[in-house]
Each structure stands twice: as structure tokens, then as C-alpha cells.
Amino acid sequence: MIRNDVAITPELVKEHGLKPDEYERFVNLIGREPTLTELGIVSAMWNEHCSYKSSRIHLRGLPTKAPWVIQGPGENAGVIDIGDGLACIFKMESHNHPSFIEPYQGAATGVGGILRDVFTMGARPIASLNFLRFGEPNHPKTPHLLSGVVAGIGGYGNSFGVPTVGGSVGFDKRYNGNILVNAMAVGLARTDEIFYAKATGVGNPIVYLGSKTGRDGIHGATMASAEFDDASEEKRPTVQVGDPFAEKLLLEACLELMKSGAVIAIQDMGAAGLTSSAVEMGAKGNLGIELDLDKVPCREEGMTAYEMMLSESQERMLMVLKPGMEKEAQAIFHKWGLDFAVIGKTTDTLRFVIKHQGEVKADLPIKELGDEAPLYDRHWVESPKQPVITLDSVTPPMSEAEALLKLVGSPDQCSKRWVWEQYDHLILGNTVQTPGGDAAIVRVEDGPKGLALTTDVTPRYCEADPFEGGKQAVAEAWRNITAVGGLPLAITDNLNFASPERPESMGQFVGCLKGIGEACRALDFPVVSGNVSLYNETNGQGILPTPAIGGVGLLDDVTVNASIAFKAEGEAVILIGATAGWLGQSIYLRDVCGREEGAPPPVDLLAEKRNGDFVRQLIRSGQVKTVHDCSDGGVALSLAEMAMAGGIGAKITAVPEGLALHAFLFGEDQGRYIIAVAEDLAADILYEAGALGIPAVTLGVTGGDSLILPGKQAISVKQLKAAHESWLPDYMAGKA
């Protein structure tokens, strides 16, 4: 008997984040007024975060298949085949809203959630990355948020025992009220030992594992589906608290249990906790689920069905076990000191039934909770095209050397050592390339293979032209993997945008997705998992459109790779790819000339692929060990980074005819790489490039302790390093 002790008022519906027509849809679906618990359940299932109601129709346009893709979007994480019977399982997910409200715990549980997504599928996590954006440096909250987020990411990952090997940190006033904290986890499993969420068999036990359920995080997913206002910090109680120790135990216990053969299906309790995990397992398996909440291990007394169903307490899992294996499973969990309770069973009714203290608190059609979630084709308008900045309209306000020194020490381009030294990036002993290069490299087990990993997007490009910006984000991830010698295989996307209810920001979303799809198709780089984070806006001010791309690539022989550091004196420095001197939306235009304008550089995907394939071949054949792509700050910034990383200077003499020096040095034309090779190989490489129609030009030669730009503008590597390394520590110490 379903009783409803609480009257469902329009106010209550609104507090649950449901629009009146969505509520009506739900009432029509179940044919009666819901109980409070049912209202809670549907609010959890139908919010933006869980239902993708505004994004779903656009996500369908993304390519998700390739011969090496084992599992695309729709599971806890994406799975790709990397050969030798091994699969790489990975995903990126946002924890933006909680991290703004409580930076340490918000970021920590973001890492915890994504690690759980990966080991839920049977993978042992081997690397973690992140993508972070903060408000402008002089905003009073920025240092506090940055320091809390970094400590939280480190605090969780370090204790859990996964190396945090890469990421991106940037600042912009458009993130003042909504920071971005996107965490990516990468794991390894055998291809024949991958676990899914789909329940099978009627009458099988549903088991609750891990930490106890408390009142934390109730309505976390609903919070993540609303814009902020000035009172948002009052939402602090809805941020969960992380326990990396419990997660580490949960990892070991789950992997041990999976080996025992007892697991039919498994789903972690992430956003919307018990509700979302149980519904997903049942709906995917065409089964009903019946839960007895009296059996749920609780941290606090007197928790109601409503609270238990919506709690986002961390470090919990739900499993369907093979009948008869409960004892064995229990022994494993008790060995690890974790809770284990049979809390329900699968049924053939296709109903989601919740019992508590002898009463039925909810009885809902399980498939419809997911399938019948609202689906919106939101009104959107195309972003206005920006004019192409002509080169003659840009007058250099300072010398190129001064500009370069300014850029290497600027908030966005400075060294992020202060950040990544707080992350254990060396644990597991497989980190072949540490943070600071184009992509991180981790060895796969004892080798010979390796994975190249990166996170990328250029939000200012995405705002100026969502389509080109979306393309560029994918292309840059592909390029960064290529630059270390990896073959790019697949991506996870973390789509951070403002409110979908504003046609302009919905237009940015639609445009970026089209660009992402186009680039993925052109580069054979499918999307296998992802996350959508909308409503990143405060008091009507939205963030820059930020579709962060997490890329994974494969090195067949991890010992054959390239890094950005100049390695020897007297090597030829060669630029590969065409340079037109594109200054629109460049870092030079923004940070040196003070102009945020223009169309971003277009991405020629054919040239991108051709140039990248050429560079990768040079690395894989062992000819080239020094490679850096050109992105923010163009050729000049890349050269400076190569010099700083290697402690060796270079003399740059070549300037293409008819191109202004500042445009040549700082233009952000896409699809370009700088390589350094022994002089005797240079001619061959230039010849080969020429034969393939790939633009390649010798810029100069490595050597000395200064980077000498054309026109005898010399900056010592020491001076570059001092500027590059000092900004962030000084800023965090209150000195910058």
C-alpha cells in the first residue's frame, strides 16, 4: 500500500528541481500522485546531470565506434582494446558545483567518483588526470579555490595510490563564479574480465558494499543541475565527504570478488546514489528491483527512505551476485573491513519497489524512470561569427623577446609545478613522462606497451567559434598524444557549458559538439565515454564553453617515445606544418596586446592528420626524440618550453618571407610541431616531408644557454625559467 504522508505541493516539486510540466509527465506516467520518496527518486533520475535531457539528442551525433572500441558511452566508463588481451578503461567527469562550494571535498570526491567508475568495470586504475579552470587570479576567491582543489585531488589520489600524471590549469574571469574540476581516471583490465551494470536473472541477490550510508550529498545531482546565485554556499551540506582509504579497500575487495566469479552485475553509487545505481542495473537488464531499506547499513540513526534513496555518501557499490555465493563474497568484504549486506533482489515485474519499516515507500515502473525522462530539443542560436584579425591591424607593443618573457611567466602559460608536485605522479613506478610535457606516458604493466594521456580544450576558441573550437579541442588532444609517439585511440569528453535554457549557450553546446564529432571522425578518434555539466553560471553569467577532451593513445613500444626537452647541442630545429601567422584569439593578442577578439585559427583536419602521422612515424622509427606541438603562444612559446625543459638554448634564424616576426613567432596556426634532430638527419626529413606535401622548414639550431630569436633578441634559458617557475608559487604566497 502506497501511502503519502506528505502533500506534494508545487513548491515541493520546485524544490526538487522539476518543472511543472515534468511533474505532470511523471504523474501521468504512474497514474497517481507520487509519495515523497517517489518524488525524490524521480527528481534524481530526471535532473540534467542524470538524464542528459538537454544534451541527449546532440550527443547522438558523436562517433562512438571503431574496431578497437569494446564499450562506448552508456556504461560506467569507456573500454578500448589495446592488444595482448588487455583493455584500457577510462572516463572523465566533472565535479564543478561541489568544488566551488567546498573545494577540498568537492575535488576529492570528484577523483573518488571517477576512480570508482573505472574499477566498477573490473579495471585497476593506473593513472589519473584532471582539467581545472579557475576565475581570474585577482579574484579574492581564486587562491583559496585553487589551493583547496589541488589539495583535494592530491589528498584523494595520493592516498588511494594512483599516480596523477597530467592535467591542465587555467584562469579566466568567466570562471569567477563557476570553477571547473574535471577528473579523469584510466584503468587496465583483461578484455575477458570486464564487468557491466546490466543485471540478469530473476531472484538474484542485490548486495550493498562499501561504506555506510549517511545524510551527506542528498540532492547533489540536483544541485549540479542548477545555476548558482549568491546563496549557493548555503548548499555546503549537499557536498559529500571523501574517504580515500575506504575507496582503496573497496577497490581491493571488488577486484578480489570479481576474480571469485560471484559478480553478475556491478554499479557504483555515484550521483543520486542508491536510486540511480539500482534503476540502471534493473533497466539495463529488463528486470525489476526490490529493495528492503531496513537492511541498508546506515551511519546515522533514523534515516528515512527518502534520505537513503538520495544520499550521495561516497565509496559505495551495488552488485547483483550469483545466488549461493553470498557467503564467499561476504568473507572477502569482511576481510577488508567493509560493509556487506543483501538488501534486495531482482524481480520479473519491471517495477522499482522500495520497502522500509514494513511499508512500501515507492513502487515505480523501472524502465520508464530512465527511458521516459524528459527529452528537450532546446532552442539554440548560432554564435555570431567573429571577424578574422588582419595582421596589419596588430602592432607589437613590445619586442618579441619581451613578449615571450611576459608569456612564459603569465598565469596561463607559467609552470604548474606548484600544482603537480602536490600529486604523487610517480607511484606504481610506470610513469615514463611526468607532468609538464605534451602528454603523459605510463607503461602498461611491465611493458612493452605504454599509454599516452592528455586533457585539452581551448575555451576562448570555443566561445569565438564553437564549431572550430570543438574541432580544435579534439585535434589538440590528438596532437599531444602524437607528439610523444602515441597512436591516438579514443577520447572521453567532459562538456562544461552554461545554462541550456539560454539559446546562446545552447548554441555553443550544439556548435562545439558538431566540431568535436567532425574532428573525431576525421582523426579516427571516437568518443567512448563522457559527462555533461550544464548550468555552469552564476547570476546569469556563464562560463566559457569548455568541452574538455581526455585523450588516450597507445605506444607499442613505450621505450620509443619523444619528449619536449632539447637533448643535445647542434641539432636542427624544424617546424612541421603550415604557418600563416594566425593571431585572432591568440594568447599574444590577449596577454600582450590586451585584445580578446577575432576568429580562432581554423583546423584543417586533413593537414592535421597528415602532419601528425608524419611526426609519429619519425618518432616510431627512432629518428626523432624531441617533439613539441605548437598551441597557445605559438612557435615562440614552444621553443621556450623546449629550451627550459632541456636546459639548452637555440638560435632561431629563419623567418618566412612576407610574414611579420610577431605573427610568425606567436601565431597559433594549428597542426604544427617543432622537432629537433641531429643535423645529418635534417635534410632527409625535410625531403621526406616535401615529398608528402607537408610544409617543413628549418628554424635554427640548438645550443648555448640562450634562446636567440631573429633580430639577435636573446633571452637566457635561466631568465626564462625564473619567470616560468616563479609566477604560481609567488601568487600562492600572496606575492604576485
Binding site: 592516498s159 582503496k248 602536490q422 604523487d424 607511484i427 613506478g429 610506470n430 611493458g447 621505450t559
Partner: protein, 232 residues
Amino acid sequence: MKSAVIVFPGSNREGDVLRALKQAGSQVEKVWHAETELPKGTDLVVLPGGFSYGDYLRCGAIAGRATVMDAVRAHAARGGLVLGICNGFQILCESGLLPGILMRNANLKFICHRQFLRVERNDTAFTRAYAKGQAIDVCVAHGEGNYTADEDTLKRLEGEGRVAFRYCDAQGHVTPDANRNGSMNSIAGIYSEKLNVLGMMPHPENLIEDLVGGTDGRGLFESLVSSFPRAA
């Protein structure tokens, strides 16, 4: 040589040290924290890095009182070798096998970076493969590695030659800049009175291959293995 690597709930570098020991030629067995005995014929006990029991209390405080630690103390009392790395060092201090304590790093932050250590003596079972005064390039990864002890203890450690490693620069100079966690006397590792127990914050086990940064950490494990005659 037979090594026993103790695994506490929350240990996370046991696999790293296992790899280093095997590479050096040791047999290795993992031992669960709830065991009451060490495997028969254990020559070396290793307490690996990690966050035992979450380190929610003082680091190593709970692990120092774990069941298996009685067996480890007995092994040490018999003169058996014990190596504690990072969390293992913290556990050794908490279990009474080594003096002093590891406090929060001077900058109050977790730090992970490459670090040179000066080998203070090379006549122990742990360091015979190194030269005295050699600067070895390893790494650190800890939040609480700031070695602290009272004046008498420090005096004894220094007087008895029980400082195993000090933080130094690439040339082997012990400088304030090289001592980033703020340890007293730049101490990175210490021995017990009989030199059979070594606790150290840095991770030699992560620097055992050129591919992942270098091989300076190997010497420690090779020293240990060479201390034992090969099994027939």
C-alpha cells in the same frame, strides 16, 4: 634472500617495492597485517609506503600497533633486517623500533618530486653498493616527512653514525634548499642502534629503471641481496 613485504589496509607502494626486490634477486612474499608470524626463513621485512589505515590518526600510529608488528619487533630484536619506506618509516617510529617522529612538511603540503640523497655511510647491509658521500637521485612523495626528534636523540643519532641519508643537492651538498620538508639536520633516513633497521622517507623503489627516471635506487636493494649468500 627472502623478503616479507607487510601489507596494511591502505598500503599502496607494496607493488613498487616488490618489483625492486625481485629485480635485485630476492624472493618476496606479501604478508597481511593480521598475521601473527612472518614466513619461515624471512631475512628482510619491508614496511612499504602508503596510507596505512588511512593515516587519519597520526601517520603510522595504528599500523605501529598492528598484530603483525609483534613479529616484526621480534625479528628486529634477533638482529633481522627491517626496511621501512615512507609510511613504513612512520610506522617504525610509531612502533618504537626507531626514535623520533615525522611531522607535517614545512610547507604543510604533500610534495612529490625527484630528490638527491647523500649516503652517509656505506658499511651497512643497506648501502654497501653505494659510495660514502655519494649523491643518489631518487624521489619523495609525502605529506609528513619532516623528521623531528629531541636534542638528545639527535645527538645520539649523529654521534653513533645512525643517520643513513640526508637531503642534498646534485653535488652532494646538504643545503637548506635541498631539505624541502624541513627535517632536522636534513635527515632523510635513520638506522637503529644495531644498524639492522632502516627507516627512510624517500622512495628508492621508484628509481630502478632508466625508462622511469633512473637507476640510483637499485643500489639499496642490491646491497640487501648481496648481504645474503645465495641459496643453494
